[in-house]
């Protein structure tokens, strides 16, 4: 009950934040914007009159406050406007492109956690040994390497040179028929449909972009796990636990681990934000039909309704994920009373 109230309170606090986000996005895309989106939809030969008519139809001639009012009214109804480029409602576009991004970022996140956290923990336990140095090298290179460059490197080696990976084009071999859509996640859908060819193709094609994204995401997780574990291992309660004769293994992997993982949980949302940003670059390179690529096309074409939609959508997800990780943190940390 207390938990429910707390969640409700936090959700209510989200509203002004999201309101502020819409305001920033609106100002950026309508007041500050340099290109004119009308150029995207009128034929090059259009007369000034035609342009004027179209601008009126899209409400671009209204005073800015009226435009914002209309925009917010529509937004509350779940209407983000129509994309200038696709001619479809932005919400529909986002729904169409979201699963691809979700699939990619989720696998990258899982890989980053599964590799980064144990690596960080091990490097704390085996401090100043080769594994600590390896972990440090991976961390430093992970945060320093541009994700787009690493993507190209992966393509060069695994696709061009060694021909181990399929062509970096989309989510599945175009000659295969995609499985029936249940979740929109191709790997999961082909599994559910029992379509092994599709599963094989979608998994192999996922490997490179996932690796590219996960490498950078792994670094902060490993560092956080390492410092959390070091702090735990140096604390008084570990000395006390040893004095009680608990075996070292059990002290490290049960007694200290829970304390060490707490700060890692708080990092997950931040890392997800990194993945969302990185997906714009990675999807562009791997021709991955997701939100990142959608956003890239929208920016290239000054399609501001689409940009608004993308930024709002990802930021909302980001903020909600923050709330979720915060709740998990509170759930795991008994020192915080909800």
């Amino acid at each position: 009950m207390k938990l429910a109230l707390y969640i409700l309170k936090r959700l209510l606090l989200l509203l002004p934040l999201l309101f502020g986000v819409t305001l920033i996005v609106f100002v950026l895309t309508r007041v500050v914007i340099s290109g004119n989106p009308i150029d995207q939809i009128v034929p090059p030969m259009a007369t000034a009159e035609m342009r004027q008519q179209l601008a009126e139809r899209y409400g671009l001639t209204d005073p800015i406050l009226v435009q914002y009012g209309k925009y917010m009214r529509n937004l509350l109804r779940g209407d983000m406007g129509v994309s200038f480029q696709s001619g479809l409602p932005v919400t529909e576009d986002l729904r169409k492109f979201f699963p691809a991004t979700f699939e990619l970022t989720t696998y990258a996140m899982l890989l980053a956690i599964l590799v980064g956290v144990p690596l960080g923990i091990l490097s704390a336990v085996k401090r100043d040994t080769w594994i600590d140095h390896l972990s440090r090298f991976l961390s430093v290179s992970g945060v320093s390497m541009p994700v787009f460059w690493f993507s190209l490197l992966l393509i060069y080696f695994f696709f061009f040179l060694w021909q181990l990976a399929p062509a970096p084009l989309g989510r599945i071999n175009p000659r295969l028929s995609a499985p029936e859509t249940f979740t929109g996640l191709l790997t999961l859908d082909s599994l559910l449909a029992g379509n092994w060819k599709a599963l094989r193709s979608s998994v192999t094609i996922l490997i490179l972009p996932t690796l590219a994204l996960a490498y950078g995401a792994m670094a902060p997780l490993a560092r956080m796990a390492r410092s959390g574990m070091l702090e735990a291992l140096e604390s008084q309660y570990i000395v006390a636990a040893r004095a009680l004769g608990l075996p070292w293994r059990s002290i490290v992997f049960r007694y200290a681990l829970k304390n060490a993982l707490l700060p890692v949980v708080t990092m997950i949302a931040v890392v997800y934000g990194f993945l969302l940003g990185g997906s714009v670059l990675v999807e562009n390179i791997f021709a991955w039909p997701g939100l990142g690529r959608y956003a890239y096309n929208a920016i290239a074409g000054s399609d501001y309704t689409a940009i608004q939609g993308f930024v709002l959508y990802t930021t909302t997800m980001y903020v909600i994920l923050f709330l979720l990780t915060d709740l998990v943190y509170r759930f795991l940390n008994p020192r915080i009373e909800i």
């Binding site: 309660y237 006390a240 009680l244 608990l246 070292w248 059990s250 304390n259």
Partner: protein
């Protein structure tokens, strides 16, 4: 050298213990050949200023020294076994089952993300191999034994939900839960409020009276020693400079340092380090030659800087390490 306590057998005998700290600035020989005994069934006080090596002694007994500290040489005999020759696995069986330790910061000694139950049951199951149900019953018993009013409630609490005094009781419960013979108590009351200090002292006293639990009480508070201990060892710069029964020590302090401690003794229950002996604990990277106390000693003569004093018998079970102790008496 006869430093054994009359009428008892020692539970633990330390011979030539060297625990050194390998720092960047050099090797600090904190313990450099310590000889010490803890009498069975009694409470022995180990007093001295902070930095004198009291805690290092206790941590050495537990073999819990951490870098940069390391036991270099010596022998710690407990029930006929040299603890320093045990494997780490064997030593883990000694800790918590035969020798336990409690600390100055009771709350920090408990893992903040586990309940009392998690920790206590795990200790009971590891050492005694009890089933979950039996361990639970044993846990409730031992919590009641240390005077916690509502064991069933405390069992499910996290450390932050308990007061400092309750945390120390829980620590004591953990320490005695598996039938330890020896309890090393490192400043167990220093961080607690005065009234709570008193309660913890009472509890330790009860444990001695009722179960004959041998205890080593590490403290800088001579008031506490007077209340709780029957034996006292005074430590200075890593050496025991005087050891005696508690009455003998208070009536006839024979080392100038002991005398200084007694004179600078704070009023009962007052906190804080002893400070009124002029000068400071020496830098153990470069300890003074001869008697380590001579730079601060009012009796010091040239001999003191040249020759390290050997223990001399003052009375029954009372010895001192000073060239000129007779001048004091």
């Amino acid at each position: 050298m006869s430093d054994s306590v009359p009428g008892t057998t020692p539970l633990i005998t330390i011979r030539g213990l060297q625990t050194h700290f390998f720092t960047q600035r050099g090797v600090a020989k904190v313990l450099d050949g310590l000889n010490f005994e803890i009498a069975s069934g009694r409470v022995t006080g180990l007093v001295g200023e902070s930095g004198s090596g009291k805690s290092v002694t206790a941590f050495s007994i537990m073999r819990l020294m951490r870098a940069p500290g390391r036991i270099v040489a010596g022998k710690i005999e407990f029930q006929g076994v040299n603890l320093l020759q045990l494997t780490e696995r064997e030593m883990a069986k000694v800790r918590g089952e035969k020798i336990s330790m409690i600390f100055q910061q009771p709350r920090a000694s408990l893992n903040p993300v586990f309940t009392v139950k998690d920790t206590l049951l795990r200790v009971l199951r590891i050492h005694k191999g009890l089933s979950a149900r039996k361990a639970q019953r044993a846990a409730l018993e031992v919590l009641a034994r240390v005077g916690l009013p509502d064991p069933a409630v405390v069992l499910n609490r996290y450390p932050h939900q308990l007061s400092g005094g309750m945390c120390q009781r829980v620590m004591i419960a953990l320490a005695i839960s598996c039938g330890s013979k020896l309890l090393l108590a490192d400043e167990p009351t220093t961080a607690l409020d005065v009234t709570v200090q008193f309660q913890i002292i009472e509890l330790l006293k009860e444990l001695e009276d009722e179960t004959g639990l041998t205890q080593l009480l590490i403290t800088h508070d001579l008031g506490l020693v007077a209340e709780l201990c029957s034996e006292v060892a005074v430590m200075y710069a890593g050496e025991i400079v005087e050891q005696a029964g508690v009455h003998a020590l208070f009536d006839q302090p024979s080392h100038p340092y002991t005398r200084g401690l007694l004179q600078s003794r704070p009023k009962p229950g007052a906190r804080g380090e002893l400070q009124s002996i002029p000068g400071r604990v020496p830098d153990l990277l470069a300890p003074p030659s001869g008697c380590r106390f001579h730079p601060r000693c009012p009796l010091a003569q040239s001999r003191c800087a040249e020759e390290s004093p050997v223990p001399e018998i003052v009375g029954e079970g009372h010895w001192v390490r000073c060239h000129f102790w007779r001048d004091l008496v």
